[in-house]
Each structure stands twice: as structure tokens, then as C-alpha cells.
């Protein structure tokens, strides 16, 4: 964060100052095809706060799990009931006040090719209605590993969240044009959300 330089799909360099996202609705898959859905729980991962990137899912039924899926983004019903607490507290600055709803993924930084003041990059991906919907489910591979959740065992999964995936493909984001430097929901955010997988 801040100092390390990354490159997007167009080989344009950038640095990251904020990288935060909402994840929820973890589902665990067993070898026999049965699933366990973790009761509704929201997590806000903020790469500025390492502890937030460590999620504990308690009270998992004992068993061998071969797959994990989860949702990036906040359910439509949680975008409309007023002010909430915890991971969904608007104090976390992941909430739009000009168009009520959550920012699901917030990535901000700088790129020397950005025409914005201070070479800024600002991507606020969110939107829960109709064509603006940026809620995506993802099932990152466990690479054949089995999570053995039995009494006395607390298996850990380590995921790598690659911010560069946000910028392509399939939707390549060009930091050298204004349209590719600042996004606040809307159709461009939907295209970027399709890059998650």
C-alpha cells in the first residue's frame, strides 16, 4: 500500500492508497455436494487495517470442505433500511450519501498517467438496483485442498485479493483518459465488477 507500484492490464503503473471491500454470505461446499451456508454476516476488509483481513467464521458444522464461495457487495435489502452498525456503519466511509447505498469495492490511488489533479485514481464500485447492480458471487479455487473442520481444528484459507484484476480483463481500464480514472457506480462500475472473477 501507498509505496508499492503495480501495473494494470495496459501496463500503466499505479500505487494504491485505499483498498476496501465488503464480503458476505460465505458458502462452504462438501465433497458430497452438500453445502453449508454461513448465517448472514458482513465483513469489511480494509487493507489499511490488517486485522480486518482476517475473518473467522464460527460454529461451522464438522466436516471436510472442498469449496468456498462468497459474495462481494451488500445485499439490496441492506442498502435501504436506514443506518446500520458494524461492517455496515456509514462511518466506515463505504456509503454514498448522494445516492444512498454502499460502496462495495473502494480502490483509490495514483498513476503518473492519470490526467486528474494529483494524478488521482478513484474507483467506487457499488449499486444494487437493476442495471447498476454490482453484486457478484465468487468461488476462488482451493487448488484441491480440503478444509478439515473438526473439533480442535481451525483450518485457515489464505486468499490473495489482486487489485489489478479490477482493471481488466475483460474490461480494461485506461488510466490515461479521464473516464478511466474516476468511477462512482453506474455502467462503468458494473463493467469493472465483471472483472472480479
Amino acid at each position: 500500500m501507498h509505496t508499492r507500484t503495480y501495473t494494470n492490464a495496459l501496463r500503466q503503473p499505479y500505487t494504491v492508497s485505499h483498498f476496501m471491500y465488503h464480503v458476505r454470505n460465505f458458502t462452504l461446499l462438501k465433497e458430497d455436494g452438500s453445502v453449508y451456508k454461513v448465517p448472514e454476516s458482513y465483513f469489511l476488509i480494509d487493507h489499511e487495517k490488517p486485522s480486518s483481513a482476517f475473518i473467522t467464521l464460527p460454529d461451522i458444522p464438522a466436516g471436510d470442505y472442498t469449496g468456498v464461495s462468497f459474495i462481494i457487495g451488500v445485499d439490496s435489502t441492506r442498502n435501504t433500511p436506514g443506518v446500520q452498525t458494524g461492517a455496515l456503519d456509514p462511518v466506515n466511509a463505504m456509503f454514498w450519501s448522494w445516492n444512498t447505498g454502499y460502496i462495495f469495492v473502494r480502490m483509490e490511488g495514483n498513476s503518473p498517467v492519470s490526467p486528474q489533479p494529483n494524478n488521482k485514481l478513484l474507483f467506487h464500485i457499488g449499486g444494487f438496483r437493476g442495471a447498476d447492480n454490482c453484486i457478484r458471487e465468487t468461488s476462488p479455487s482451493l487448488n484441491g485442498n480440503v478444509l478439515q473442520a473438526w473439533a480442535g481444528k481451525s483450518p485457515e484459507v489464505h486468499y490473495k485479493a489482486d487489485a489489478s484484476k479490477l482493471f481488466g480483463a475483460p474490461d480494461q481500464v485506461n488510466f490515461s483518459v479521464l473516464e478511466g480514472t474516476a468511477i462512482h457506480g453506474g455502467p462503468r462500475a458494473v463493467q469493472m465488477a465483471d472483472n472480479y472473477r
Binding site: V23, F26, L28, I45, A53, F54, I55, T56, L57, P58, D59, I60, P61, A62, Y65, V68, N79, T80, P81, G82, V83, Q84, T85, D89, P90, V91, A93, F95, S97, W98, N99, T100, G101, D132, L147, A149, W150, A151, K153, S154, P155, E156, V157, H158, Y159, K160, A161, G185, G186, P187
Partner: protein, 360 residues
Amino acid sequence: MFKIKLRPYWLLCLAVAGAFIGCDRSQKGTEMPEPDPYAFVAPANFPESVYRFQNNPVTKEGFELGRMLFYDGRLSGDNSVSCGTCHRQTFAFADHSHDLSHGVGNKLGNRNTPAMANLAWMPEFFWDGGANHLEVTPLNAITNPVEMGETLKNVIDKLNGMPGYREKFRAAFGHDTINSQLMFRAMAQFTGLLVSANSRYDRYVRRENGVEFTADEKEGLQLFTANCASCHATDLFTDHSYRNNGLDSDFARDPGREIVTSDPADRGKFKVPSLRNVALTMPYMHNGQFYTLRRVLDHYASGVKDSPTLDPLLRQNGRLGIPLTEDQKTKLIAFLNTLTDAAFCNDPRFRDPINNSTDQ
């Protein structure tokens, strides 16, 4: 990188000792209770409210706390601008004589401060409908750099640093650790109780105390029903829709509802405002461009500008606008004056408790 840890549950044997405690509902007196000034009461001539306080029951302590927050400049970046700075009770919580809102550091907003009344019946807020819930609405004004210019985190930190506020939150909600949910719920108890339904118009339609309209007011009401009530509908005087009412033919400076929906079909559309207390809430329109009701009616009669998203009701029979004679305008204004609710604008429950005055 983020990590997930799965923690299995252990076999637990819980001996649950259940004790049922009988509720002794001892008899209370059957005398009629005093009217509760902190109860949310829906007027008989209103439709069903949208905000119903299910998760936020109004109490005296919660309402008073919300009132204190509404009038406290410490919710702004330089501690100088409160909600009540622009939303002034004397003028039905509009900003009299200011076409655009004034924020911290004398910054100018880009829209007119809307009047506040009957907010519990509103499904969305702001000229473009950008807020979808009564509780989240103040967040925009607090964080907007040209309005109150503060972060939510700083506001919560400031409040937690004030023992007086912690005590008030404890009294209202049982917690003295202040979070944004409690703050916004307290504010919603105050703003949700801003019910204006005691104008002469209300007493006339509810047939209270033999209130009668003058001949001009009656004719004005008929003209209103025929020409205005399709948008300014029900006794809330809005159908909650967004429409382009022909103020301009180009909306590049403020595209209105399109900002929220990203839909070019919404360009230049703004919320149909309630007309409650409209005689007090000048200037008018989202940009405050008209300073009198007559200028507003002049606009509808002869000033409407065409554009692709102009409301079809303002383009009928091959002409723009709503045909109105000068005499009809006079009668419409006579009717609009009956929507002024003096009791609402002077209600001591809604006054500034800090400066204890609603004077300018």
C-alpha cells in the same frame, strides 16, 4: 490478501434453566391519557406514512436529543453550521431569501434548501431523490464540502467526547457509546415528527371549527385541482415523482435525477416538491430562481422551455406550459396561501433549544 478461519463448534450440553416470570399487569387507571406531544400521529387527511418508527420508537428523550443535534453547529467541519442554519422553523424549515444553500466557509451549494414537513411520508429525499431513507438523509448535508463539510467519523468522535451528549444518548437509547445509527435515529425522531397538517386548508378539508374558504380560495382550489394536482397530489401535495418542468432547455450544469439513476431519460428532472407552507419557502425551484409565487405561475403559464425530457403534462395540445390568466394566477395564490401552517412554524417543540429562538 485476506484470510478466513473456520472454527467448528464443540459439542455443547447446555442445561437451560428456564424460569417463566409471570407478568403482573397490575391495573392502571382507565382515565383518558394526556395527548402525548412526542407521539407520531398521522393526520386524518394523509395517506399511510413511509417511515413508521418501528425500529425507532419516539421518546421524549430521543426527540429532544434529535432536536439538539439538529441545531448543533458542531456537526459541521468548523462547528459553525447546523441543520437549522439553513432549515429555519420560521420559514417552514426552508432557507428564506437564499436561492442556494450557504455552507461552511461561506461556500455556496448548488441547490435551494428544501422546506421540511411531513418527512415521514416521503419515500426519497433531496431534489434528485438521492437519499432513500429518512435516517440517512442528514449524512449528505453533514459530509457535503459545500454544506456542513465534516466527516461522519469526526462527528461521532466529537459527540463521544462530550459528556453531556453521552448522558443524553444514555437517557434516550440506554447506551452512552454514541454511534452513527443512534445519532441518525435521534435525528429521525425529531425530523419525523415535523408534521404540518394544521393549515387553514387542512381545517377546511377536515371540516374543523367551521373553517370556510373565501370565494377566491375556493376558485383557487378548483384551479389547483384541475391544473396542478396531478403532480402536487394528495394532501402531501406531491406525487413523489421527478419531472422536468421546463426551467431550462439544457441541464449540463445540474442534470438532476440523472445523477442518481445514470439514465439520460432522467436528465433535467427534479422532485415534485410538497407545497406545504409554500408561501413561506421562497425562493422556489431546485435552483431558487423564482422569488415569488407569481413568478412561479408566470413560468408555468408562459416560461416553459422545451427539451427532450420535458414533462408531457407541460406539452399538451401543441403548446408549452399550462394556460393561466392573470386572474387565475391571483386565485391560485390565494389558495396556496391557505397551506401556511402557523402553528407548525411556531411550535415550541421544534424550536432551537440552544439559541432558544427562531428569530433571524
